[in-house]
Symmetry: C2
Subunit: 118 residues, 2 copies
Amino acid sequence: MKPIFHPDMDGIDAATVFGALADPTRLAIVLALADAEEFEARCGSFTDFASPSLLAYHFAKLREAGITRARAEGTSRFISLRREELDGRFPGLLDSIIATARRDPSLPRISEDKLLAP
Amino acid sequence: MKPIFHPDMDGIDAATVFGALADPTRLAIVLALADAEEFEARCGSFTDFASPSLLAYHFAKLREAGITRARAEGTSRFISLRREELDGRFPGLLDSIIATARRDPSLPRISEDKLLAP
DNA sequence: TCTTAAATTCAACGATCATTGAAATTTGAA
DNA sequence: TTCAAATTTCAATGATCGTTGAATTTAAGA
């Protein structure tokens, strides 16, 4: 019932965004969201990356840095990239981040068809 | 006499680069280097940003993440951006970082003519 | 040689971070 | 109402981070 907090994009500073990306698991989440056909993914799709409670921590970091939004549906949650808003605040940055993540072979990947499966 | 360590760019991963940028002082250093006419700056030019010992810590972080190089001359040191090398590893990233830093008014700035003055 | 200047290194500190496992919350289904 | 699934919250841990101030290094100049 309690709404999910999403920060105003105008208040986001650059160092906070980079801090949210300074972790391979979070970078892998962003990459998976970027490379997926669907624009959102179920939170439970990422259990290959970390334990549920650790994932919740990483999801909160990304959300509080303005990079992702979250939406609740039933007992599930879906997250997606705040593409347009982030591009308004820092034009071109998200695309560059995604391109950078793609170039890093050390990042864990996830098969795309896992992202929405219940 | 002991040479300054510069990591091989191939071994740099994306999360390390973002981690080096997750601090306003280090972002301000990168921004100053990017906006300067000269391609390098004396380390002592940044004392507005932090104390000498704290600056040395930040310089090391940037250097170990592959973002900057350092060169000793007499008792001074000069740092510069590893533009071409970084662009080879992560094309377009540095320009995007610089554009992002420019859009963040909360970052401290330095008058450009301080960067080389002895 | 003695001194000064420029910068780093080191030891310490409190703060934040990533991680774990258990407990709590929320919702839909039996 | 009870149960199970999905996810978060909480408390605790060790590790890393940003910061300070003192000590050290290095090289140039008097």
